[in-house]
């Protein structure tokens, strides 16, 4: 556990040291979000135009406004979603690239705080990691399918149920198991990315096997759990602040900080894992 905590702390140190990368990732994330928001805002503006109701749009949830807006422009949401769906694959490509670059930069173990190795690593390993991502997605879909099947094995007819608390408990248990499994799987996925960028091999199957075996490594499991807990803590703290603030400005700042914290946490996780990979590789050589 001591070792795992040391990896965790060093991971955060690395993330703070690479603040330029954190800011870059934040900026791109913001650009995508702003781009995705624009058509919706334009549509709202064209519908509400010079109506007094435009002034109410941010004054909390106004069901009547949403309902009238929906009737006035029933296609708004459809158009918006089709736009968002089209944006999604582009964002996916960027995510693969940026995660690859981050892994490569972390594998260099240098605190130079420049973005050179991020760009070069991202482009060098992009296709290998893309292939890996496809495998990971397939595995994730299979896992979710099996969990859903387990969850609804009694069918969906609620008239067959004796007591609804059964579904509630089952849903809670299933949600807990799903989150932990996804987090563990994702940690192994990141572990595999590090193995690939460190070795430089074109063939990735050997690394997939090593990463799969690492899923039973207690340090990897602990590290995954520590990061999961960190994410939950970050989300809870920020949610509480957000809920209790009345100022728009404060809410916006808090939300922005939360995105930054999540990006930093993502980087810290990769750096922490890198130390684990390094340690395992050393042990293997011995």
């Amino acid at each position: 556990m001591k070792k795992v905590l040391s990896f965790y702390i060093q991971g955060w140190q690395w993330a703070f040291g690479n603040w330029r990368l954190v800011l870059l990732l934040f900026a791109i994330n913001y650009l995508f979000s702003a781009f995705a928001t624009k058509p919706l805002i334009q549509s709202i503006q064209s519908q509400l135009g010079d109506s007094k109701m435009l002034e109410n749009i941010y004054d909390g949830f106004d069901f009547t406004l949403i309902s009238d807006l929906y009737r006035a422009a029933p296609d708004t949401l459809g158009i918006y979603f089709s736009f968002a769906i089209w944006l999604l694959p582009i964002y996916g490509i960027w995510m693969i690239f940026s995660n690859t670059g981050t892994a490569f930069k972390a594998s260099q173990q240098s605190n130079d705080n420049t973005l050179k190795s991020f760009w070069s690593g991202g482009s060098q390993y992009f296709f290998r990691i893309s292939r890996l991502t496809c495998y990971y997605l397939l595995l994730l879909i299979a896992m979710l399918f099996i969990l859903a099947k387990l969850g609804f094995d009694s069918g969906t007819n609620i008239l067959m149920l004796e007591n609804e608390d059964i579904i509630i408990q089952k849903t809670y248990r299933l949600a807990g198991v799903t989150i932990i499994l996804i987090f563990l799987l994702k940690t192994a996925f990141d572990y595999c990315k590090l193995l690939i960028v460190k070795s430089g091999n074109t063939f990735i199957h050997q690394h997939i096997l090593t990463a799969t075996k690492a899923m039973v490594n207690s340090k990897l499991i602990l590290l995954a759990l520590v990061y999961l807990v960190s994410l939950i803590v970050v989300l809870v703290i920020f949610y509480c602040i957000k809920m209790h603030s009345d100022s728009t400005m404060l809410t916006t700042i808090v939300t922005t900080l939360l995105v930054l914290a999540r990006i930093a946490l993502r980087l810290a996780k990769v750096a922490g894992l890198e130390l684990l990979v390094e340690e395992s590789m050393k042990r293997a050589k011995k």
Binding site: F32, Q45, Y58, R262, R266
Partner: protein, 661 residues
């Protein structure tokens, strides 16, 4: 929240103090039912003996009686109940054939007071359609006619096969719910009642949509059930005795139009007393915690309606929250017994239990005490109930969160009604006063419930809440226990409007009901434009016919604006207009709303900030509130804040996608 509750407590105290002065009225029961029924849980059957005395309320001599056999609607797929509505809801039908869950009702023997056997004189009839497969109504010819105002006694032996999970009734696992379960007399309407020119039996078949219509009776109910079963029933428990193989429960319910009961070995019961009423709540142990939500809502409802209509006159009110496998019985009203439904997986911000129990309690006034015809004029019950549901819940909670209040998402009951009506697939599909079984192309819920409520809400906006309250009081006190029809309500509206608002509406309110109750048109008013009038120079020939002149306009401190309004819908209603100026002061204008458009000039030393049609949202029927106002220089601060917040949320969603990349 705290403030609202404090006000409620004060109101409650005042109402309680006032209550002693209000008397509880009772109906003139036309019949007495003495029903003895045995529940056979092995064969899923009811064996019943009923003694009925019935008094002819008319000056006619009557030689036949009609009974509803509602359980025959569940006899097979060919009944009017199922052929009307297409098919059985999917969730009900999955096990119906497996367990042979169909049901039926049969009169095995019928005798008159002289001991004449009338069994062979009964025949199934179909007063609504030609569907001879439908056996939900039976006619019995009498040996000797019933003279005007005299009383007949009949004795029936009957059997019913209990259906499995049919709409509103039946059994599932160990839970039994008996609604419309015994042979029940139709209503004999004397000439003059509900607009009839001559006396007639009113006894409709059981349809897929629409509910019931019955007369006031006194019921003595005796049920024999297995020892471990607990019964929740209409009326008050009189007696409970153990016999060798069963326990016998006796209930009495007087001056009610129906009786309903439920039985289960797993029921738990909680009782409180409010005013003089015993509130009995039955549910399964895992839902016990919901009881306080029901009780606190009902306390508020009881006091609210006591103040606005009349005190609840019965000694008991039974509330049943069925188990999840009894879901098909939840959210229904019966005299002195209501069913709700709550789900443990819904967070408390979903005010489903509060909404349902309020709705079903209000029905005690319109379905039960006023007892209008729920098949022929469903709006008189469901529409009124939905209107009052919004009034009560919007006062109990908050106008914008009385239905849902969950993590920043809020929906009010009144606004939900408007949205259900206007966002329905076709808000013009039928008029409000359509019969329940004649909504051929759908729309029963959005029109009979929601549009009716919005219509009443708009009426309240037009005539003011105090006149509206007078209407409700007079309607209720005049028509309770008398089965009114739509015109009776309109007459009360006209009387009260003539009394309180003779100058505002000298012609009464028929024009309103013609458009909204009997019509399907839409209502939409809009501010089309607000333009500053620029005085231009006068040019041309004036005094001098030889030379052209240019006369400069007179410089003025005052500014003039031309406001143009449009009527986009067909419905014509008088509307208020509010003009707001830069210094914050406001001026009001009126328009009768009849023409397609309307223009007026506004002169002031201030600039106009905005023009708003119907600023108090009195015209709740208006289908688009967005075009009801125009701001001259729109302030985009709110949109910018919304945009920033929305972008931040998208940022989080994108960051979360990292889990799959």
């Amino acid at each position: 929240m705290f403030q609202i509750r404090s006000i409620c407590i004060v109101l409650t105290l005042l109402a309680t103090l006032n209550g002693s002065a209000q008397s509880k009225s009772v109906a003139q029961a036309l019949s007495n039912y003495n029903i003895h029924v045995t529940l056979d849980t092995t064969n899923k059957k009811l064996y019943g003996q009923t003694s009925i005395t019935w008094t002819n309320p008319s000056d006619d001599s009557i030689d036949e009686v009609y009974f509803h056999l509602y359980y025959n609607a569940f006899k097979n797929t060919e009944s009017t109940f199922f052929s009307d509505d297409g098919d059985i809801p999917d969730f009900l039908s999955t096990q119906i054939d497996e367990v042979c869950g169909w049901g039926w009702s049969n009169i095995d023997k019928i005798l008159d007071s002289d001991g004449n056997d009338l069994t062979n004189s009964i025949a199934y009839v179909q007063p609504d359609d030609q569907n001879t497969e439908d056996k939900s109504v039976v006619r019995c010819s009498l040996d000797s006619p019933i003279a005007p105002r005299s009383t007949i006694a009949l004795t029936l032996e009957w059997t019913a096969k209990i259906p499995n999970t049919m709409p509103r009734t039946g059994y599932n696992k160990e839970f039994y719910f008996f609604a419309q379960w015994f042979p029940k007399l139709g209503v004999y309407e004397p000439a003059g009642m509900r607009g009839n020119t001559q006396g007639r039996w009113n006894c409709h078949q059981y349809h897929g949509s629409g509910e019931y219509y019955s007369d006031f009776s006194n019921y003595e109910l005796t049920m024999e059930v297995p020892h471990d079963f607990i019964i929740a029933s209409s009326g008050s428990l009189q007696n409970k005795t153990k016999q060798d193989s069963s326990t016998v429960w006796t209930f009495q319910a007087d001056n009610v139009i129906d009786v309903t009961w439920a039985a289960s070995p797993h029921f738990i019961k909680k009782t409180i007393q409010h005013n003089d009423i015993e509130l009995n709540f039955y549910t399964y142990p895992y839902k016990e915690h919901v009881s306080e939500r029901y009780f606190s809502t009902l306390r508020f409802c009881i006091d609210f309606l006591k103040e606005h209509l009349a005190p609840y006159p019965y000694p008991t009110l039974t509330i049943i929250d069925p188990p999840i496998h009894g879901l098909y019985t939840g959210g229904m009203e019966y005299p002195t017994l209501i069913t709700s439904i709550s789900f443990n997986f819904f967070p408390p911000g979903f005010r489903t239990p509060e909404t349902l129990v309020t709705h079903e309690y209000i029905h005690q006034y319109f379905m039960q005490m006023v007892a209008s015809h729920e098949v022929e004029e469903p709006w008189l019950d469901e529409g009124f109930t939905t209107y009052w549901e919004a009034r009560i819940l919007d006062s109990l909670f908050n106008e914008n969160n009385s239905m849902i209040c969950l993590g920043g998402v809020t929906i009010g009951n009144k606004e939900y009604n408007r949205s259900e009506f206007l966002n329905s697939p076709n808000p013009k599909i039928a008029a409000i006063n359509t019969r329940a079984n004649q909504f051929e192309f759908g729309g029963y819920g959005p029109i009979a419930y929601n549009k009716s409520a919005v219509m009443l809400q708009t009426l309240e906006g037009l005539i003011g809440q105090s006149t509206m309250d007078n209407i409700w009081k007079e309607y209720f006190t005049t028509w309770q226990f008398k089965h009114p029809h739509s015109q009776d309500f309109i007459d009360v509206v006209n009387t009260q409007v003539a009394k309180h608002l003779p100058d505002l509406y000298p012609e009464g309110m028929d024009w309103y009901f013609e458009q909204v109750l009997y019509g399907t048109n839409e209502c939409d008013y809009a501010v089309a434009s607000v333009d500053k009038v620029i005085e231009s120079n006068k040019r041309g020939f004036f005094e001098n016919l030889e030379n052209c002149e240019i006369i400069d306009s007179i410089e003025s401190e005052e500014k003039t604006f031309e406001v143009t309004l449009h009527r986009l819908g067909e419905i014509k209603l008088p509307i208020d207009i509010q003009v707001t100026f830069t210094d914050g002061h406001q001026e009001s204008y009126q328009w009768d709303g009849r023409q397609r458009g309307h223009q007026f000039l506004v002169t002031s030393d201030q600039d106009i900030v905005s023009v708003t049609i119907d600023p108090d949202r009195k015209i709740y029927l208006d289908k688009n509130f967005i075009n009801n106002s125009k701001v001259l220089s729109p302030n985009n601060n709110s949109l910018s804040s919304f945009s920033r917040a929305f972008t931040a949320n998208i940022q989080h969603i994108l960051e979360s996608l990292n889990l799959i990349f």
